[in-house]
């Protein structure tokens, strides 16, 4: 059986990692600080030629925002917060949700109905609305809550939004695997629940959990973008007047926040909103490439597993092959006569 190579996944992960490293290194070795706004453009008589936002040019590839800050440096700075938040939330969802799902389905399936009843609002109310309800009071701009506390609370809320889906997906999957003939046979032969879980259920669950993690990454990114439209940026917002107009700005410059805060520039300066949205689109496409390759490989493996023999079986036959001699065979006629 041909083993999957995951070539596209490796390339996508490498690109994501390179972007993340560039974003982290920006703080240490990056060119000029994006926070120092560019001056107005003057002609030789000292009259103002143009006001920010400046369109893309040779010096500023992605142009500047409404405060005259370089868009490229801004998105480079914010990228690490986006990737970190999304990675932490998705990992926590899958780790905690799957673990509790496995435990519940294996040892206490009766409480599933109560967990479902408890999280019923998460099942029917759009998650974006739930997130707005939970975050609004805390991310309110005029309170004294420190930024780090706000971020931690937002990460907990984002975790909570996806937890029920992961939990029920895992319980359903464990239930489905538990009905397979090899699992029931193992149970009939006296295998303990822990043994069955470790040896037969977990190996089948692993690829699904990896896929689930990738799907959670996409979902978390989508919710972050939706929240930004409600001005619930990661870490909150500030309305510091940098140039001549004050407007709600993301404190962390996280990509979804930048996209949400610059929505109103679409009409006059589309490059401002599309610079952060473009980078988000790149991240989305890279993650979708990973997701599609995982699904394709899982499908291929399912198809092939029906046609091939397990490796150990083939080895056994090969070892036996050396011992097979004609003397060990009994001709049929003789066998019939013996009977």
């Amino acid at each position: 059986m041909k083993l999957p190579t995951y070539r596209k996944t490796k390339i996508s992960l490498a690109v994501l990692l390179a972007l993340l490293i560039a974003s982290i290194l920006y703080d240490y070795i990056g060119p000029g600080d994006y926070r120092s706004m560019l001056d107005q453009l003057y002609d030789e008589n000292g009259d103002v030629l143009e006001n920010p936002p400046y369109p893309p040019s040779k010096d500023y590839i992605l142009g500047t925002d409404r405060d005259g800050r370089d868009n490229l440096l801004l998105i480079l700075d914010g990228l690490k917060y986006t990737i970190a938040a999304v990675f932490i939330v998705s990992l926590a969802r899958v780790a905690v949700g799957a673990m509790l799902g496995i435990i519940t389905e294996t040892w206490a399936p009766a409480i599933k109905a109560f967990v479902k009843a408890f999280f019923l609002p998460f099942h029917y109310v759009p998650l974006l609305l739930v997130a707005v309800i939970l975050m609004d009071a805390v991310i309110f701009p005029f309170n004294e809550i420190p930024v780090i506390v706000k971020i931690e609370y937002q990460l907990i809320v984002l975790f909570l939004l996806g937890f029920p889906a992961v939990f029920f997906f895992t319980t359903d999957l464990v239930k489905e695997i538990s009905t397979k003939p090899y699992v029931t046979s193992s149970a009939l032969l006296g295998g303990s629940k822990f043994h069955i879980l470790r040896v037969q259920i977990l190996p089948h669950l692993k690829p699904h959990l990896i896929l689930l993690f990738v799907q959670q990454v996409l979902q978390t990114l989508q919710i972050l973008m939706g929240l930004a439209i409600f001005r619930l940026f990661l870490g909150g917002r500030h309305e510091e007047k940098i140039y001549n107009t004050s407007y709600p700005k993301s404190i962390t410059n996280e990509l979804a926040g930048l996209t949400g805060q610059n929505f109103w520039t679409l009409k006059n300066a589309p490059w401002v909103a599309f610079s952060s949205l473009g980078l988000l689109l790149v991240i989305f496409i890279l993650v979708i490439v990973i997701k599609n390759e995982i699904i394709a490989n899982m499908d291929r493996q399912t198809e092939q597993s029906g046609l091939s023999f397990p490796k150990t079986k083939q080895q056994d036959i090969k070892e036996d092959g050396d011992n097979i001699t004609s003397a060990k065979f009994i001709p049929i006629k003789q066998k019939v006569l013996d009977q």
């Binding site: 420190p146 931690e152 609370y153 809320v157 439209i229």
Partner: protein, 308 residues
Amino acid sequence: MINGLWILKNVFTKALYILALIGTFLLGISFLLSFTAIFNFDRKPGEHLAISFDGVQLRLQTIFTQLMDFSFKDVFDYVKNPNVLDGFMNSYKVLGISLVAIIMLGCMIGFLVILLPIKLRRRFHQFLDYFEGLPDLLFIFIINMLNIYLLKEFNFKVFSMYGFGSSQPVAFPVIVTSFLPAVLFGLYLIKCMEEEEQAHYVQLGYSKGLSRPYLYSVYMLRNILPVLSLKFRVILYMMLSNLILIEHMYHYNITLTNQIIEQVFRGQHVLPLIYGIGILIFPVILLEYLIKLIVKETVIRKRGEFQL
């Protein structure tokens, strides 16, 4: 006598079980609405978020007391409020038209791709796979940008987008609400049909000389309905999320989203918020169950193969 007692015990146990489930459900709602009370936000710079159960009991008590004020008369009074009624009509006008658009456009995409030659179909399928996971906001921005571009370059206004004042656009929210769900519906249709293609009756149909469009639209469509109806739930809720986003983004005033957001921002009592959310999602839940019921009655009862 023993039989009677046994039945009575069973009924009693079941009633207790249902009561416990309802209690858990109410606890879930209270937990959701008092979630912030679990944490201590009174922290100094440099400190981290802490858990504190001091205010939780009081908050839960308040919410439970407010939930006890529930009455159907209140719900009718809330619905009779002209703002809520008009908001419902406006939101569901957009959702209704979007739903029709999604089914029509999705079926068109699905059938066009599935009837293509295999190689070309695979390419299109791979392309459409990328849409599963892309954010709605991306398409909203692109459609918005296209509209602005046409207006700027050709002075041609395709549709009005913003809802300042009393204007309540329909075309724009319908387009942005239905675009991505329609593509996904088409994709689900293709996936379901490709799985169904392996069935023996399809091979038999080919061998008997039935045309592909006839086989797909008459036999296969009917048989994939149970699976498709399960996936349709995703489409319904995606549509609802898109609508909330659009109504807030473009400042549509008389909408259910606006009513709910107002309650989130300024509401003192939890019931108007719950009523608002209930009115927003109730028709969608009803439609979801209606689809399941129709599929169960029309397809599964005859075939008896799929379990919903």
